[in-house]
Amino acid sequence: MASTGHTAPGPAGPAADPAVRATGIVKRYGSTLALDGVHLTVRPGEAHALVGRNGAGKSTLVSVLTGMVRPDGGTVAFGGAPAPGWGDTAAWQRKVACVYQKSMTVPELTVAENLYLNRFPGGRAIRWRTLRARARELLAEYGVAVDPADRIKDLGVEQRQFVEIARALSCGARLIVLDEPTARLDAGGIERLFGKLRGLRAQGVAFLFISHHLQEVYELCDTVTVFRDARHVLTAPVAGLPRTELVRAMTGEEPAAARPVRTAGPPAGEPVLRTEGLVLDGRFAPLDLTVRAGEVVGLAGATASGNTAIGETLAGLRTPGGGRITVRGRPVRTGSVPHAIEAGIGYVPEDRHRQGLIPGRSVAENATLTVADQLGPLGTVLPARTREFAHRMITSLDIRTTGPGQPVAGLSGGNQQKVVIARALAREPSVLVAVRPTNGVDVRSKEALLGVVREVADGGSGAVIVSDELDDLRVCDRVLAVFHGRVVAEFGSGWSDHELVAAMEGMAAGGSGPGGPRERYPGRPAGTDGTDSTDGTEGTAP
């Protein structure tokens, strides 16, 4: 247990006690193993990168290290001393702090108040003058050029992160976890952040750096640890580690023969979906995409790469800044879901709980939401027809349910996702747009769901899979890698895992797209310069 842990003598431990040493951490969520006996050691003054694909267990480990989640097994020690008791938040804050993508500051309060929130100097009454003076000293100490009287909401992302780091350091923390700190910064901001981090490291502050951008790992970090499938795979000095080696550790790519070779599909037919100069400021750059009948096209991209926004724009959930969408040659009114559905775009949203399902309603009702106008004359919905329709869907997609009347909340994750897909397919769309269609379902459902997408294409429609899961992208005939809102590489069906991951992580190693490895941010679209700081992660539609 973290609370009763003791320092386990590590093999070949460095002279100083490590800033943090975690050993044998196990964490389970239900039947899912989120962390399987992982270990991690960060030395004082070190910048340590933690990388891994989505679901590898990075976030869970961060939660364990910051005392937010109690591990089922293993020990955590800070500077040689066992971790504070579980639930003793103040004690944890003196050891470690995490700067999340989503700000943990109070936007309406001033910088000074945020720095000393709930630990104001002085007695019961707040002495504003002292508070501000102390805040100014603190900020000056770490070289943060921010006025303590400013409100947090008026600061940029970069300054807010500095304030959060300063707050953590003033609590006594000597280990700072940075969770995707550069995701919303522009190149200049990243330079300044890195400069500041280097300065702090000289003072003995250690950083655990979580990033999807391997390029940044190479620029900033000394050591990198790779997680894959809840396990520790590799810890190595960055300097001597070839990039291909790192990507291979992340993907765990077996020899190429392991991948089932797709049978050559029918020759692609006429275009079913075409976009011309489709653009959404701050999310993705002008996109020309053509999906032909019988073709599955993948849009690969990491979190916040903009690929989800492309999917949502195609579905009409977001209004593009410009450009055209046509389905089978007919233009579609953009920014309107009913028009998109009418035009023949079926949509499987990213998060079935948030956008996919109405939990309290029945399977039949959820599956027929998009076809309610076809279930009876004059705007009526006849229960018999609804049931019949649902029965057809249940049979054709093999949904495991007690019947069409069962509330959809009672289904397993995979079957819920099938209901969402049934809803998208109910109108027999010309093109199916599926965002992370196998999100949070088990392996067998995954295969079934991807099989359905394949069948849709084989049946003469087109399909677009927006995902960062390599398994999802394997069914695609073509994969476009999206990085910072721009298609940086295109692959035929013969791609290898590390080529694609490298392209998604911003290292266009094997891609034919623009931007070599040295150009750090190939064509970042205008608007991602950190000015829109309201939402932290991709896919949070307003």
Binding site: Y29, G30, S31, T32, A34, G52, N54, G55, A56, G57, K58, S59, T60, S63, Y100, K102, D179, E180, I210, T303, A315, G316, L317, V337, A340, I341, E342, Y347, P349, H353, R354, Q355, G356, L357, I358, P359, G360, R361, E365, L369, T370, A372, L375, G379, T380, V381, P383, T402, P407, A409, G410, L411, S412, G413, Q416, R423, N439, G440, T537, A541
Partner: protein
């Protein structure tokens, strides 16, 4: 947080199928859960007073349920689509007052109107006022995106004030015959209001069950984002529902005015608590997306029967308010545990 944490979390949440429903068949009967309560109240009433089981008394109870029932019908539709409207209780008074103000003669009567329209237009005008109030609520909530609770609370106060201003704080008598007819007529020996109320509930129930847009209310209330992603025009339908709620409240005002022959200055004052209580007891979820109109109707009848039984049982009038509140609380607690759901 990155999304790395979400797959295990969603899996954990989805991995317990049917944990809220040990008996799937039971949920279907939840809408009928008040029927035995009504029966028990009937037995208590019979024991308490021989006058209870008389035709006059029962018809009286039902007639008194009609005006409240129409408000509950409107509120139920709004609650199912995930919104709330507190201003309904002011609409029931304001709409008749404005309609009468526009049609009543400018001279002669105690209340001087404008005489802008012929007397027969009083009912359509009244309903139009209700629709306008609902549409204004919709504008505030859906266009300006202000908080629905506070916006309609403000409307409640403002409309009540408008009614007091126009009517100069007095009751309006001598209402035109056409306006009063529905509230006081008897059809087949039963007040017309009862038939109308039942018909509207049946119509509403059929719309919710068998109409595309009616069914969309459950989707909108249950998960507005999913409804939007499925191509339902969420804002437009919500707006229509708010307007329909206003129309129903105005119609309740017509029945009430006809029933008592006058519009009192405090018509509908304080009813909104009863409206919410009846809806929630009847199984309508305040979170939206759940409940039936049949349930709402049984909620209304339950509340009115309780009041009737207390009156017949000789409860001192000074204590009825206390007992009324107490019974609402008890009913809420019971329905909270029988439905197994939190009602916040």
């Amino acid at each position: 947080m990155t999304e790395t944490a979400s797959p295990p979390a969603t899996e954990a949440a989805a991995g317990v199928p049917g944990r809220a429903r040990p008996w799937p068949g039971l949920a279907r009967w939840r809408d009928f859960s008040l029927v035995p309560v009504i029966f028990v109240l009937g037995v208590i009433g019979f024991i308490v007073s021989p006058a209870f089981l008389t035709r006059d008394n029962l018809i009286g109870v039902i007639q008194q349920s009609t005006e409240l029932g129409l408000l509950v019908l409107g509120e139920a539709l709004i609650l199912i689509s995930g919104r709330m409207d507190l201003s309904l209780e002011s609409t029931i008074g304001l709409a008749p007052v404005i309609a009468l103000w526009l049609v009543m003669p400018a001279h002669g009567a105690r209340f001087a109107g404008l005489e802008l329209f012929p007397a027969w237009t009083a009912i359509p005008l009244c309903l139009a006022v209700g629709a306008a109030v609902g549409a204004t609520n919709g504008f505030l909530i859906l266009r300006l995106r202000v908080n629905g609770f506070i916006a309609t609370l403000g409307m409640l106060t403002m409309l009540r004030g408008l009614q007091v201003g126009i009517s100069e704080g007095r009751s309006i008598g001598n209402v035109p015959e056409s306006f009063a007819y529905l509230g006081k007529a008897d059809w087949l020996g039963v007040p017309a209001a009862v038939w109308i109320c039942l018909a509207l509930f049946a119509l509403g129930g059929a719309a919710l069950g068998y109409l595309r847009h009616g069914r969309a209310l459950y989707a909108i209330g249950g998960n507005p984002e999913a409804a939007k992603a499925a191509g339902i025009r969420v804002d437009r339908i919500t707006w229509i529902v708010l307007a329909v709620g206003g129309v129903l409240a105005a119609f309740a005002g017509i029945l009430y005015t006809g029933h008592y022959g006058a519009v009192s200055a405090s018509q509908g004052n304080g009813w909104i608590f009863q409206v919410f209580a009846a809806a929630v007891i009847g199984g309508i979820s305040l979170k939206g997306g759940r409940g039936t109109l049949f349930g709402a109707l049984t909620g209304v009848l339950t509340l009115q029967l309780v009041i009737n039984v207390m009156t017949l049982g000789g409860v001192p009038p000074l204590w009825t308010q206390f007992l009324n509140g107490l019974i609402i609380i008890i009913a809420l607690v019971i329905s909270r545990f029988t439905s197994g759901e939190q009602q916040d």
